[in-house]
Symmetry: C2
């Protein structure tokens, strides 16, 4: 089945305790599409870039099965740029620069060929843009997942709630789940968020794993303890890409299958953080993925 992703395509400058890179390939949609490409062979991308974006990166996406007809290229303008520095505790980071550039006036237009895509992943963007994309779909996708962040809860809560009402899966972190629901207990937070619309809530906890809530059920995917962690940038988006890519591939939105998807997403994220930018995501082999999936299984397996 096909997967449509809307989200940022960006340049990043990143400093972590383990190194520093300048103006490398980044952006939520980029990570999502690369991660999903290991599962879903028919992807559509909606985003915007300036003409400073390297052609070879577009070609690389096309080769991974990503249709980029919905990727607007604005002549004479610059691509979105983000610079950040991570603390020794990689869970904390400071944003140094956010240059919206082409993103400031981004008005997504879905090519006709995109409009009956079966699965939709809304990367973190203004809730209005996310909603615009849903409204342009000719047929409602089988599953719509939406990523968002605390910033939109602070400055655009009304629009955010309107958009959340239209989606099936909401992916946020634990702090954001608490802020959105006003509940400290994540179990209570999930119950409240279900009243806002979504049937599934994915709580991303970075190096502490991810939780999937559905009705009265909960599932947990751990993060694999890694020998090398160089750069957490894009890990959440990579997770979302693996998650939605696996669901699109299997064409199954049951809780049981979303549990598996959570593991696939976690496995992809565990690769992502091993190198800066997309470097590790470009070279994963089937065997490496299989080994990693086994490691995830062994990590939590016991007999009582």
């Amino acid at each position: 089945m096909s997967l449509l992703t809307v989200g940022t395509v960006a340049f990043d400058s990143i400093e972590t305790p383990f190194g520093k890179v300048d103006k490398v390939i980044g952006g939520a949609a980029t990570y999502i599409c690369w991660a999903a490409s290991y599962f879903c062979k028919q992807q559509h991308l909606v985003s915007v870039i300036g003409d400073d974006w390297p052609d070879r990166e577009i070609v690389a996406l096309n080769k991974r099965g990503v249709d980029t007809r919905g990727l607007q290229i604005i002549p004479g303008e610059k691509s979105f740029f983000w610079a950040g520095k991570y603390h020794t505790d990689l869970n904390q980071r400071d944003t140094l620069v956010t240059d919206l550039n082409v993103l400031a006036d981004f008005d997504p237009v879905l090519p006709e060929a995109y409009q009956d895509t079966e699965y939709l992943m809304l990367g973190n963007l203004t809730p209005e843009i996310q909603m615009t994309v849903i409204r342009q779909m000719e047929r409602r996708p089988k599953l719509i997942a939406m990523d968002t962040m605390n910033f939109w809860m602070d400055v655009a809560m009304d629009g955010l709630l309107q958009t959340i009402r239209m989606v099936d899966v909401l992916t946020i972190n634990d702090e954001e789940a608490r802020q959105l629901s006003g509940e400290y207990s994540l179990v209570k937070a999930a119950k409240k968020i279900f009243t806002l619309g979504p049937k599934y809530l994915v709580i991303k906890k970075g190096e502490h794993g991810a939780l999937l809530f559905h009705q009265d059920e909960v599932f947990f995917a751990p993060a694999l303890p890694l020998l090398e962690v160089k750069d957490p940038t894009g890990a959440g988006d990579t997770f979302a890409g693996g998650f939605m890519g696996y669901i699109a591939k299997t064409d199954d939105s049951s809780f049981e299958n979303l549990k598996r998807a959570l593991i696939y997403g976690s496995a992809m994220a565990s690769f992502c953080v091993e190198e800066f930018s997309l470097d590790r995501l470009r070279t994963i082999t089937d065997v490496q993925l299989q080994i990693r999936l086994n490691q995830f299984k062994n990590l939590v397996h016991y007999n009582l």
Copy 2:
């Protein structure tokens, strides 16, 4: 098999976003013994209290199978007292008061009947006191576990390293593992800590679960997302008590059994946080424990 615990027995005053209690029963050894008592029916306690400690609490421990002949009672003196306040994020707390009282001059003396106990749990205390206890054992226990904290890394690193060299299992949190090893990656931290003596490393991550490292293997026990969390005080000690109580009961120090013990410890900790002080730990039934263990199993179970 028998389990010997050395650690604090204290009064706590605790404020969390969900309530406030004054001068309630606390202390690492208290939590450890209560949690372990659900598995191990032959326990020995070494600690110190003032004559302000309620007799009924000693009787209650005795009824749970805890031999308190090694619990020194200092006439005219006060028991150790700790007061703390938790942030909205329950992972953060401020210590408001630490009155060592009887603990200031604590010199543990092992009754003869304790000296051939098979399993030893060293609760968080000065490394010197922990070492004194090990040295008083006539026969080396089958397994020695030791809890400690960053404070001793800051002020007593030499004594701490000497004590760590004598134990089999070290239990610390993720930050402490990073501080002790100088490594950010927990996989690398574990490898370094193994060179200091222990064969097993347990990394406690509170509401994010616990990791067990052994040689090149790693196992993860999640924390159960709970409807109600009132007070995290003692959760780490309760975890350690369930962990060591289960090992003592089964008399099996293999990695496979320690994995199970980690789940039992996590299950006990999940009860602990549901009420203030020891309240929930006093009333767990077999059926409730079984249901909780099933919840832990379902939380991470999937078929690929």
